[in-house]
Symmetry: C2
Subunit: 340 residues, 2 copies
C-alpha cells in the first residue's frame, strides 16, 4: 500500500537494495519554506494547527526526497497536555514557568484524555497522511519519560539538567510518581497515534546519556520498556537514547524494532553492543553536514559499508542543525540513493 | 618526602590500604571560603594572583581532607597567553570577544614564552607548595588542544560547539595549525609546571565526547598523545576525556599513568575498555552528591568494590557542582577513608 516501503522493510529486518534514509528534525529550520512559516506563526501554533503541521511534515519528502516522513510536532506537547504549561522562548528554547518541585506539584499533574487534549496531533496525522498519499511511511514520536521529567523539573533546557537529577536523587519516590504519570500518558498518546494511522513510532531519550548506567535503568529505561511493551505488537518501535551506548544491550532485548545510534558510537561498537541482530538507525554527526558535499558523499558510503546495507536506516546521530545548506542535506540523501 | 603519598602510589599502580580521593573542582564554589574570595576578586584575578590561587588550592586539603591538591587555575589561561583574550562573564561563563575564524586569525595566534606569559601560574605553584608543606601531592593541569579550540572558535561555552566543529570539518588545515600551536604551548606550559614542582599533571578533554571516534583521533587524540609523550618520562600524566569511552583503548596504550572516567562508563566497562591494567580515576555522578549522605557512603563503597581498591583513584565523574552542601562533599571523602 505504501509505495516506498524501504523504511518499513528495514524495520522488519528484510533485505533491501539500499538502506532507507531520513533525518531527525528533517522538517526544520534548514528549509527556507519552514523559515517562511516560522516567520508567520509561533512554534506551538505550528504544532497545534493541523494544516501547518502537515504542510511542514511533508516538506522534506517533496523537497529532499527522504524515505520516511516524521510528524512535525514536539516532545513537550505531552507536558502541556498534562497541565504543565510549556512556552517556547526565542534564543532560550523551551520554558516551563512553573517547574515541578514538590509532592503537591506532582499530585497536580494530569494524566489526560489524550484524544481530547492532543486531538490536534491526531488531526495533523490525518492531514499529513492525506498529503503524503501513501508515498512514504509516517513516523509518530514521543519523548522518553525521563527526558520529559528533565524539562518539567529543570524548567528549561540545560547542559547538565542538575535540578532534574537532584530531584530524582533526593526525592526518588516523587520522581517515580511523575515518571509513571508521563509513561501512562505517553502510552495512551502513542496508541492514539497508531490508531490514527502512523506507520512507526520513535521514542526520543535525548537526555538519557546524562545518567549513569544504573540510574538510567532506574529513572529512564524501566519506563521506556513499559512503552515499548505496550506498543510493540501494534507497530514497529524505534528507541533512540542519545549517549546511551551503555544500555544498547537491554534496548536490543526490549522488543523494539530498531535502535537509534548517535555518532559517538561507531557502527562496529553499535553492532557489538546491540548484539548484532537488531536494525540500527543513525549516526552521521549533524555538524559534519557542513563538510564539502563530496566529503559527505564519501562519508555516507563508508557509513553504509560499516553498518551494512541491511537492518540499517541511514540517519543523522541527532537532529539536523539550522545552519545546514539545503544542498548538503540533499547530498546526504542522494548519497544513500546512489548506493548499490 | 610527601607525607600522604596514596595518590602517587595509585598512579604507580602500587598496592594501597585504601584508594586515594580527590574531587575535580574541589577548590570551588561549594566552599563558603571560596565564595568569600569570589565576592572580593573576579575570576581571572583569583587565577592570576599567586597568593589567592594558593589559598584556594589548599582549602579542600585543610577543610575536606582530600589526598591530593589541584592547583586553582583555569584551562583558558593558555588561550590568554596565546593572545586570544578570554573574559569570564557572570551567568554566561567564558567569553572570547574575537573568536578564531580565518587563516589570518590563526596566523596571529602566539606560541608564547610560557615562563613569561604564565609566570603567575608558576608562582602560584611555589606558593601552594609552601602552604601544602608536603602534606599531599600537587596536581597541575591543562585543557586538551581540542577543548581549547572549542572555546577559541565558538567564542563561548556551548552545548554542541557547532561552530568549532564546523571550523574543523570545513577548514581542517586551519584547525590543525591551530591545534598544533596549542599543543606546542601546552607542552612548554606543563614542562614549566613540572620544573616548578607539581607532582602529577592532568589533561582535561572536556569536549572530546562531542566528536565521533574517527574525528576524535583526528582532531583531539593525536595532539593529546603528543603531550603525553612529551611529559610521560618526567611525571605521571592523567588523561580525562569526558564522554570518550570509545577512546579508552588508545588512551590506555599512550603512556598515561591513569585515565579519568565519567559516570556514564561503569567500572566494569571502564576496566574492559582500558585493557584492565591501567590506573583509573572517577567516576561518581557529581549530581549524586545531592543524595542523602548515607546513600553517598553506600555508593562510594560500592564504587570502590566495583573498580577495586588498587590502581584506582576515587573522584567524581566531572567537576563538583556549586550547590553541593559541604557536608556531602565531606561524606564522599570520609567514605573513602573508612574503606578497608
Amino acid at each position: 500500500m505504501i509505495k516506498n516501503d524501504l523504511f518499513l522493510k528495514a524495520l522488519k529486518g528484510q533485505t533491501v537494495t539500499r538502506p532507507p534514509v531520513w533525518m531527525m528534525r528533517q522538517a526544520g529550520r534548514y528549509l527556507p519554506d519552514f523559515m517562511r512559516l516560522k516567520a508567520q506563526y509561533d512554534f506551538f501554533t505550528r504544532c497545534q494547527t493541523p494544516e501547518l503541521a502537515a504542510e511542514i511534515t511533508v516538506m522534506p519528502i517533496d523537497q529532499i526526497g527522504t524515505d520516511a516522513a516524521i510528524l512535525f510536532s514536539d516532545i513537550l506537547v505531552v507536558l502541556q497536555a498534562m497541565d504543565i504549561p510549556v512556552e517556547m522562548k526565542s534564543d532560550v528554547g523551551p520554558w516551563i514557568p512553573n517547574p515541578i518541585a514538590t509532592a503537591k506539584d506532582v499530585d497536580r499533574v494530569l494524566v489526560p484524555d489524550v484524544e481530547d487534549r492532543l486531538n490536534y496531533v491526531l488531526q495533523a496525522i490525518i492531514q499529513s497522511k492525506g498529503l503524503l498519499d501513501n508515498r512514504v511511511p509516517l513516523i509518530g514520536f514521543a519523548g522518553s519519560p525521563w527526558t520529559l521529567l528533565c524539562y518539567a523539573v529543570q524548567g528549561s533546557g540545560s547542559k547538565t539538567f542538575d535540578k532534574a537529577k537532584a530531584f530524582c536523587f533526593s526525592q526518588p519516590e516523587l520522581a517515580h510518581r511523575l515518571l509513571q504519570k508521563i509513561t501512562d500518558t505517553t502510552i495512551a498518546y502513542l496508541k492514539a497515534k497508531v490508531a490514527t494511522g502512523v506507520d512507526a513510532v520513535q521514542l526520543f531519550d535525548s537526555w538519557g546519556g546524562l545518567l549513569g548506567p544504573d540510574d538510567y535503568q532506574t529513572f529512564s529505561w524501566q519506563y521506556l520498556q513499559q512503552i515499548v511493551t505496550a506498543l510493540r505488537t501494534e507497530i514497529p518501535v524505534i528507541v533512540f537514547g542519545k549517549g546511551c551506548w551503555f544500555a544498547l544491550r537491554e534496548m536490543s532485548q526490549s522488543g523494539a524494532a530498531a535502535l537509534g545510534i548517535d555518532w559517538t558510537c561507531s557502527a562496529q561498537n553499535a553492532r557489538y553492543l546491540s548484539g548484532g541482530a537488531i536494525t540500527l538507525q543513525g549516526n552521521y554527526d549533524p555538524a559534519k553536514l557542513l563538510s564539502p558535499t563530496s566529503q559527505i558523499r564519501t562519508d555516507v558510503h563508508q557509513m553504509i559499508n560499516a553498518f551494512g546495507k541491511d537492518r540499517y536506516i541511514v540517519n543523522l546521530g541527532h537532529g539536523i542543525l539550522p545552519n545546514i545548506p539545503v544542498a548538503h542535506a540533499q547530498a546526504f540523501v542522494d548519497a544513500v540513493k546512489e548506493y548499490y
